[in-house]
Amino acid sequence: MKMLVLMKRVMDCSRQVSIEENEVRAEGSHCPMMDNPADLSALELAIGIKQTAPGSTVTALSLGGDEATEILVNALSRGADRAIHVNSAGGGSGLEDPFLAAAVLAEVIKGHKPDLVFCGTKSFDTSSAQLGGLISQFIGLPYVSNAVKVEISADKESLHVQRKLEKGRKLILKCPLPALIAVEVSVAEPKYLSLFRQMKVNRGLVEQVPFPASMYQELQTVTEVIKVVRTKPRAKKSDFTTTALSPLKRMKLMAGQKNSEQGKLIDGDREVLAREIISYLEQKKIISGKCI
């Protein structure tokens, strides 16, 4: 069973990400990076399958700049047999468009003729969730997304894929091999990887594949990023009744009128915040008297 896992080194959006001056993209050079969690789960899934099917191979593939080496080395430490880096440096900013990225990756994947391709449903930073679907079209493979469980059937000719639907409902599909499956983070729990193993892996094993520059000229992106906006906490409107509201207001809310009262956003150090909260609660008569 020849398996390929698409992996991406993404911006660590759980930390502070600064936006560039022109507001068109996040500042990539100083941005803390991380391995896309869904991709790590995909790799763990592939390695799990490899252990049950002797003779299988797992190849990790990543399209990106120098940062992609990190995730590929990680993949090797975790047990991937090969790691291939398609270096996009010089490919321009258009590669953020999943269409172009998919076209490039599809070219590389075609050459490998894998039995099974895994990728994450979406990446942690751009989150387009289109890459898998686009690649499957370019290569002509059946595609299933949002997979939370993947099993190979007894005859090794097809897969049983369980998809995650809303509200805990599930869908189980039978999908013929070869196929491309986009997986959720929950499909497998990546094993703890000790620092020692990471130290001992031979970084030179990452294979460099040149970026097919000619192809970039052929396909042009039709979408363009206009603006990137960072998160701002917003005051929330409350649309439910509480005893803090007057009876009239409560009646109006229950009758369907929107509450014009808005929440208040406060800022400051802990002591200031605590006092503000207490005075608000006192004001609204939710608590009474001095608590301190």
Binding site: K191, Y192, L193, S194, L195, F196, R197
Partner: protein, 648 residues
Amino acid sequence: MAAEQQLWKMSGLPLAYWASALVLLFLIWQLAKIGRALYQAKKENRIDHFWHRLGNMFVGLLLPRRLFQDRYHGFIHTLIFWGFLFLIPGTVDTLSRGFSGGNDLTLLQTSIFLWAINWWDVIAVFPVAGVLWALLRRFIRPPRRFASSSVQVYLILLLIFFLLVVELVRRGVELSLAGGAIASVNPVRLGFSWLVSAFGLGSPELSAVHSVLWWTHFLLLAGFVIYIPLSKHLHLLLCPFNLLFKDNDAGALPAIDLTDNEINKLGVSTYGDFTWKQRLDFYTCANCGRCEERCPAHISGKTLSPRKLVQNLRHGANATSLPVTKQEIWACTTCGACQAECPSMVEHLKLMVDLRRGSLDDGGLQPAGARALENIWRWGNPWGESQTRRTQWLGAKENSLRNRKGLLFWVGCTASFDPDGQEIAKAMVDILSRQEVEFFVLGPDELCCGDPARRMGEEALFQELARENIRKFEERGIDTVVTTCPHCYHMFKREYPKLGARLKVLHHTQLLGQVMADSTGEREPGESGGNPGWTMTFHDPCYLGRYNDLYEDSRKLIQNLVPGNLVEMKDSVRNAMCCGGGGGQLWVDIRDGERINNLRFHQAGEAGAEIVVTACPVCKIMLKSAKDSLNNETIMVKDIAELVLTHM
């Protein structure tokens, strides 16, 4: 004499020669198998300071302190062991006479041996008494560890018993037949001889009985020799070696050069990964169960039993994978009680860490433990808090305390981030300020000392942390450190030097003793000045007490400064029971059975304590959480620094 010679002309002697040869060959074969296993195992240097080791070996054999941890058993073992040694000349004499048809071995005719031969019967009384006492103890108030004993125990005890009794009777018969014309007479022998005569057998019958008895003795002895390599009795032969090769720096893990290209793998996951000393440990283990009796994991109902672990490793040597489960590996708190108790000098601590190192990459680590390690890697502390929050507990004092000179007060992760720990750090700062000691803190420049990482098997992470910390110490010219955490203390004092650190390290109980020495002048120890005081008990942290032999400072400090009386819990000082928080357990947290900290807290209650005094932030967290989960309102948990502060 002719009658005597006649007596020894027994029939079937060639059989005895053949049997002896076979038995000895069997023994040699079994020992050779063990030797080969040791030879093929990984290398380890245990012959440094060889004469010192030899000295320690003899001391260990003559004065086996660990055996006497169990009062009665120390005596029982001494009776049987030393009895056996002194009985050797007589037994050899008997055998040689049998084989040679009555001739004495000239070697044995020297005075010391002659004495042992002539008084054999008197000497034999002692091991017989020992065996009977041992058998009695199996039924009358047996210690906990006997519950997991196997049939082997009874087999060996009975074998020894009959070996001795048969020979005693035979010697009695021999005396009877000789009718007084024999040199070797002693009261016990006379007694047996008298007993024999009471049966009123004639000479021919007695001769026949004598032959039978000699053969029985011979066969029992042969059986015993065959049984040695097949049973726990192998410790007879191997204990002296395990004493000789013991770890002289027990508790501190040896340094490994991870950049060495020869090392492709850390820890053990197959038999080939063990060192020869570890394999020797498995063979030497006498299956006594003293380790198990003291293991907090075992006592609280986890599947881990150090005894079972070692025995499984001894017997499973042909398996492809190790006969050890993940539950066992991760339940250990690294308290060291097993290793401290073991009379066979088995080294469990290094074994557990090696098993963990080998199990990390198999996905053996529980999710919570993995998160703690990832936090250390990403954030520099197992809590995953931002390093800038390390000095939050200092509040306004932060800048002044970071820029001073003098003694470095290393706060440690627990005391920096956990509220209970922070109280300890604050108390220390107050005390040191009041006593006008010059000190400073590193603040966000403190990185985890590496203890949780190392004890959970993440050696590479530990070395990164250690190197970074050592670099910082050198950069700032720090050579003296005081810390409130015994884990950090142990790391800096015993393990960092192997990576090149040169530090003078104090635990806060040592420093407080020095610092408060001036202010105790006015009061006599124990004098309460009108205050009846509290009943206090001191909970010895494993890494302070067992690992580093610091028991007295804390107790003296309490007695000198705090009114009240100090009581001891059931398991204290050297035998102190772990709080359950070490070895990464604060995060790994195996939940089978009872909680270790609850059990320890019960001991405090049973001792009648109103305050449990600790000297470790982790112990404090564990005991406080026990107090909460047991809904206890009467017992307080305080660190010694907090107690000292309120009584300054």
